[in-house]
Amino acid sequence: MQDLREITKTIRRDIIEMIYSAGSGHPGGSLSLAEIFSVLYFGHMKHDPNDPVMPDRDRLILSKGHAAPVLYSALARSGYFDPEYLKTLRKTESFLEGHPAVKTPGVEVGTGSLGQGLSVGCGVALSFKKRKTPQKVYVILGDGELQEGQNWEAFMFAGHNRLNNLITVIDLNDLQIDGKVTEVNSIEPVADKIRAFKWNFELIDGHDIAQIKAAFEKAAASDRPFAVIAKTVKGKGVSFMEDRAEWHGKPLSKGDYEKAMAELI
């Protein structure tokens, strides 16, 4: 297995390359997920890039669809398609849409309108339960996204139905487009809310690969649905993007691009 730290760096470089060549996209919330996607796609999840619809695969739903670049990089680097193709992000004839779409090999469902992925994850988890199959479904949520009420319908349903094959990652970077989540409309205390909805959870540093792995192992043995609440830094790895709300969805100038790539060696 490749070194996950190297893969994480490659993913971050891909994200910058893709968004620079597209001329638009969402670097901040993609960079914050690089370690988590490395762990999921390079060792943790059961999946087969040569058979994207393998029936017994685990499923991943990127509910915060604007982080599509991190997903596309993880898919390409694990072998679903040629990494060279990443440069076609957001181009007219590309299968790499601005937000995830089912035409991309490895994408399970289209997302982009926030707050909808966890419900879909509930349905997949329920379907696995009905078929008595052992797979897991992973749903990646943003923290700002938790302001969408539908998430709480889904948290309630999953807790009530003990969907312990449903695992969510909450990318807690405390930034949304209009500023800090805690200032725009705070979702805290997240962990207390999750607990109240009858989920188990683990609070981790979302950039610490060992903590991420340990959390997913704990999630796999959980008797309840499980939330990995990952404290992250939006824009992680690129100094001038880190913890800056304006880098949620800003294109990169040539200078930005060169500076970012120089940092990601």
Binding site: V109, T111, G123, L126, K130, Q150, E153, F157
Partner: protein, 313 residues
């Protein structure tokens, strides 16, 4: 059929679901706390493993249905049309239709005859909302048997389908063994003077109106458009070419419903014709007895007769 027996067409929905589950355990019926009203409690009673009540959470209802479909289950998400087509529109658009998922949506209690519950529950905008969505099929059965056939057809179709139902018992106009093909309109009565296009339970009032008009010398052709999308434009165009006169009777808002669908499509055909539409005229209704409301808003058979005469005389 004799047209006298009355049954609420939502029973056709659950009759079909019971038959489908007996053959295919992948069929899962979902409801949002209205199982008695929608009649999906019949599934819960007989096949509890094939039934899920998500509680009062329609956005989650649609999302869960989408997730079930991703693993090969065939979900039928059922609740009042106001709450599924209306409240969960974005979930239907972005999660279900964009990914072309095999999700079936049942919108119950549409139209005027919801009656006493009033405008919050009298869904009159659902056809407009659902028919604009890419990949979506929109069915509007006229009676309990057509509801049965529509539900079976929805199951056999791969992709999203919206089926529209009503609360009140309505006359049985068709039989279960009539053919039902998505996208194929039915000429219910042949005539040469005026084409009347309609859909859903209001068909029975249209038939009554046609009977009355025939006594005054009009030969009415009635077309039942049980599939609003995809629309059977060939059938409609052929009829209008023959009669040169068209009335659309639509128990829905005037904007965006069957009338809009028919006139949009006919605008691309090279036909000269006179036309009128009987629909709800861009207003919210009131609470009231279903029969009184049908009269008040111009959908009784007598009102239809008067309006058709006014259009063409």
């Amino acid at each position: 059929m004799n047209g006298r027996e009355k049954v609420a067409n939502r029973f056709g929905y659950t009759d079909a679901l019971l038959d489908l589950i007996a053959k295919d355990s992948n069929v899962i019926v979902l409801d949002a706390d209205l199982a008695k009203s929608t009649t999906t409690s019949r599934i819960k009673d007989k096949y509890p493993d094939n039934f899920i009540d998500v509680g009062i959470a329609e956005q989650n209802l649609v999302g869960i249905a989408a997730g079930l479909s991703l693993n090969g289950h065939v979900p039928f998400a059922s609740t009042y049309a106001a709450f599924i087509a209306g409240r969960a529109f974005d979930q239907i658009r972005t999660t279900v239709c964009y990914s072309n998922l095999n999700v079936k949506l049942a919108g119950m209690h549409t139209g005027i005859t919801v009656g006493a519950d009033g405008p919050t529950h009298q869904m009159l905008e659902d056809i407009a909302l659902m028919r604009v969505l890419p990949n979506m099929v929109v069915l509007n059965p006229c009676d309990v048997n057509e509801a049965y056939n529509a539900t079976i057809a929805a199951y056999e179709h791969k992709g999203p389908v919206y089926i529209r139902f009503v609360r009140e018992a309505s006359p049985v106009l068709t039989s279960c063994d009539e053919y039902f093909v998505i996208g194929k309109a039915k000429v219910v009565r042949c005539g040469k003077d005026i084409t009347v296009v309609t859909s859903g339970q209001i068909l029975s009032n249209v038939i009554e109106a046609a009977d009355k008009l025939e006594k005054t010398g009009f030969d009415i052709e009635i077309i039942n458009v049980h599939t609003i999308k995809p629309l059977d434009i060939n059938c409609l165009a052929e009829s209008v070419r023959k009669t040169g006169k068209l009335i659309v009777v639509d128990e829905h808002q005037i904007h965006g419903g069957l009338g809009s669908a028919v006139f949009e499509a006919l605008a691309l055909e090279n036909i000269q014709y006179k036309a009128g539409i009987i629909a709800v005229n861009d207003t919210f209704l009131t609470s009231g007895h279903p029969g009184e409301l049908m009269e008040k808003y111009g959908f009784s058979s007598d009102s239809i007769v008067e309006k058709i005469k006014a259009f063409f005389l």
